[in-house]
């Protein structure tokens, strides 16, 4: 009894738990309120819809764990998709297009990392800058006009394997990889260390510059992948793809309870938001109530946690 109680208490310590409860609550409600919710097809749709935010959130989570922030992810999504599409068009090679898109994301991440580690620019400002620059470049490259984006990328974005969306599978696989990476590798552990105490970590011999560079680079790379998936899903690379994603991604990370979770957390957070959007469509909630509801669910999801932690201040 007291054993199982203490497990519950342990669980509840993690913000994740309270978000999970919320996730379950919304899901159960939907299962009753809509006949279609539990259909495999719908569930998989929810999974697919969460995938881009979740994948980008995986990188963002590591950035945040290392005490940074990456506001540029939305623009990197757009720029990577656009570069991928242009390369694909001009070289005729899907591989080059896809690799070029990923490389673009990576390059953006490296730039962010260098701005932070070399020029010591506050990451909020540095990535706010690249948010604008990357978006501008995407517009310049395309003249503002969306490009077609098909082939293998479309398979990644919209395809299914045994009826399961490829992007959903990718999300699961990447989340597992990132989780293992964060928890079991040296670099992963060092990310946590510099997030906790950069100075002490540096003195212990952790190369904080290269670790920081690494997390930003990874965040860029995953945003690039997100861009390819999104564009693939839409079969169109729009320079405005991903506008405003940064807040969703960061919210997914925080909802997921960063501190503890490279992988798991981000997915839970992203799923909660995708589930909400699904609920709105399934239940036919009016737009304005959608906006209100979304806010309330976010607050409650985390507030549950706060309620039971009453009493202990900083």
């Amino acid at each position: 009894m007291s054993q199982s109680l203490s497990i519950v208490r342990d669980l509840a310590k993690h913000r994740e738990a309270s978000v999970l409860v919320m996730l379950a609550a919304v899901a159960i409600y939907l299962a009753f309120a809509s006949d279609y919710f539990l259909e495999p097809r719908n569930l998989l749709n929810v999974g697919r819809q969460a995938s881009v935010v979740a994948i980008v959130a995986l990188g963002q989570a590591l950035v945040i764990i290392a005490r940074g922030i990456d506001l540029s992810v939305g623009s990197v999504i757009g720029l990577s998709a656009v570069v991928g599409a242009i390369l694909m068009r001009d070289t005729g090679s899907e591989t080059i297009g896809l690799l070029g898109g990923l490389a673009t994301g990576l390059a953006c991440g490296v730039v962010n990392g260098l701005l932070y580690t070399r020029l010591r620019i506050n990451p909020f400002i540095a990535t706010l800058g690249t948010l604008s620059v990357a978006r501008g470049i995407a517009l310049l490259l395309t003249g503002g006009i969306p490009l077609p984006f098909g082939g293998f990328a479309e398979f990644v974005g919209a395809g299914r394997i045994y009826n399961i969306p490829v992007s959903f599978l990718l999300m699961i696989v990447l989340a597992i990889i990132v989780h293992i990476f964060a928890v079991k590798t040296v670099t992963g552990r060092e990310i946590y260390a510099i997030g906790d105490n950069p100075k002490a970590s540096r003195l212990a011999g952790v190369n904080i510059r290269s670790i920081r560079l690494f997390v930003f680079a990874l965040s860029g790379l995953l945003a690039g992948l997100g861009g390819l998936i999104l564009a693939g899903n839409l079969a169109s690379a729009d320079p405005n793809l991903g506008v405003g994603y940064e807040l969703d991604v960061i919210a997914a990370v925080i909802l997921g309870g960063t501190a503890l979770s490279g992988g798991r957390g981000s997915i839970i957070g992203a799923l909660l938001m995708a589930l909400l959007n699904n609920a709105f469509v399934l239940l036919g909630i009016s737009a304005y109530w959608q906006v209100v509801t979304k806010g309330l669910v976010i607050i409650f999801a985390v507030g549950l946690d706060g309620l039971q932690r009453r009493g202990d201040d900083d």
Binding site: I180, R189, D196, K199, L203, A204
Partner: protein
């Protein structure tokens, strides 16, 4: 004991085939000032392999500064450092580490989010063949390392952030030990260790000495240096003023070396004429630790609070201060029941606290000394609209003199003060509230002997003027020196209260072990 006599001169060329027996490290004429404030004039120091040197000095004497210079964390304004007779210059701490210097800092810096084992291996974690962290190996090595420094009780799988300060300290020592340094600098490593832990730690230092490590040990506990060290060096006014062997010196002598005067505070028999009960606790419980604590402290009384680690002293003080919720029971101030939901209410009612853990709970690191001192009493002195900024200046001057705070300017960030002086500023902060009840939690951690007796003097003087003091301390001598009575806690329960006449080291300790 005194194994390395100054028999060889450092300038000699080592004879081929024979290990050089000159000093491992030789510092000459080290000088350092901060913004015109001279901290080190011209300090000379030789360190030999297999020797433990105790470094003593008042707060702000420059001990930590000198160590930072030797280890590469600070650059001297003048002077030279040689290692093995070769001039050396460390640009960064990492250079120093590379050269075999490990420095356990005065301020804790474990990585709270990592496990103990990970902390011990940070920067060089072992990998499995698959490229993952080899947790098994790390744990095994951690156990061995912890055992080496007498901390075998710490589970290497625990998150370091959840451990006590003393345990964190031991982790840092173990970490330094793991590097097998040639020079090990320990800056007040024992300030938060229990007596038992100190013993284990001493065993490690002796073993390291036997293995040929040179060790510098900084502390304000004179008994410790007398017991452990081979040579005692006293730093004063920015220079080394004495070098003595423990066998040939006394506490008094060392104190005189450090402070220039032999004075040390002694308990003065005091009458407590006022029978008013200032603070009364009735069956006080917090949510998980304290059990039915009842206690009365009279106006002008100094009540000690003793217990072993984890006895609940900090919790009890926090409950009184409103920082921790009172689950049941009653607290009354001068007969009036109070229930403080927040320390701000307690401070308004005249209860001030000097908290345990200067760095985490005491100082505002980016604020100036003056602002740090003023923060508790801002509301007390503010005009209708504006804060009394001018008054802060004069009050700071007043308390600087009263507590002997050593600083260049009161506008310098408090984090640039020496540890002991930071503590005095926190003391000044509490006194500026003009409290009727003063709660002290390990108030003299890291405070030098001279300043300690100053602080005792101040507490005693304030008590004579009617201040009621409740002081948690782990140092029995401190209790004996200052307290009129002592309450002993054991595992969250009140084990008993001893009056002045009943107090003795033995009785206090016996009661502290009661629930164990």
């Amino acid at each position: 004991m005194y194994s390395n006599g100054k028999t060889s001169t450092a300038g000699n060329e080592p004879v081929a085939g024979i290990l050089p027996s000159g000093p491992l490290l030789r510092a000459r004429g080290i000088a350092k000032s901060f913004a015109g404030n001279v901290v080190l004039h011209s300090a000379d120091l030789d360190l030999y392999p297999g020797e433990v040197v105790g470094l003593l000095g008042e707060n702000g004497a420059g001990k930590s500064t000198l160590m930072h210079i030797l280890s590469g964390g600070l650059q001297p304004d003048a002077g030279t450092v040689e290692m093995h007779g070769q001039p050396t210059h460390f640009n960064t701490v990492l250079d120093g580490i590379e050269a075999g210097i490990s420095f356990v800092h005065q301020e804790l810096s474990v990585i709270g989010a990592l496990t103990v084992a990970e902390n011990l291996h940070l920067g060089h974690m072992p990998k499995t063949r698959a490229g993952f962290v080899d947790f098994q190996k790390m744990r095994d090595e951690a156990v061995a390392l912890l055992n080496r420094v007498g901390a075998g009780g710490i589970d290497p799988r625990h998150e370091a952030g959840t451990l006590r300060a003393g345990e964190q300290q031991l982790i840092e020592i173990a970490k330094a030990a793991g590097r097998n340094p040639r020079l090990l600098i320990l800056d007040e490593p024992t300030s938060s260790l229990t007596p038992h832990e100190v013993e284990g730690f001493f065993a490690y230092v002796r073993a390291a000495r036997a293995a040929g490590t040179a060790i510098i040990f900084i502390t304000h506990r004179l008994e410790e240096v007398l017991k452990l060290c081979d040579r005692l060096v006293v730093l004063r006014n920015g220079a080394i003023v004495s070098e003595r062997r423990p066998a040939e010196t006394t506490r008094q002598q060392l104190i005189t070396d450090m402070t220039g005067k032999p004075a040390i505070y002694e308990y003065r028999e005091r009458q407590i004429p006022d029978k008013t009960v200032a603070l009364s606790l009735q069956r006080v419980r917090d949510r998980d630790h304290l059990e039915d604590i009842s206690l009365e402290v009279r106006k002008g009384e100094i009540m000690g609070l003793f217990g072993l680690v984890g006895a609940g002293r900090t919790e009890l003080l926090e409950v009184i201060h409103g920082a921790r919720p009172l689950a049941s029971g009653k607290i009354a101030l001068f007969g009036t029941p109070v229930s403080h939901r927040d320390p701000s209410a307690a401070v308004r009612n005249g209860i001030a606290l000097v908290p345990e853990g200067r760095k985490t709970a005491g100082i505002l690191p980016q604020h100036s000394v003056r602002d740090n001192a003023a923060i508790s009493s801002l509301r007390r002195f503010s005009g209708r609209l504006f804060s009394d900024l001018r008054g802060d200046v004069t009050r700071m001057e007043d308390y600087r003199d009263r507590l002997g705070i050593r600083m260049a300017r009161d506008t310098q960030p408090i984090s640039t003060l020496s540890g002991g002086n930071q503590q005095k500023v926190v003391f000044a902060r509490a006194l500026m509230v003009d409290p009727s009840i003063l709660l002290l939690d390990e108030p003299t951690h890291g405070v030098d002997v001279g300043a300690k007796s100053d602080l005792y003097e101040i507490v005693a003087r304030e008590a004579e003027r009617g201040l009621t003091v409740l002081m948690a301390s782990s140092e029995v001598p401190e209790i004996l020196a200052l307290c009129d009575r002592v309450a002993i806690l054991s595992k969250g329960r009140l084990a008993g209260i001893l009056s002045r006449e009943e107090m003795s080291e033995d009785r206090i300790l016996t009661m502290a072990f009661m629930e164990h």
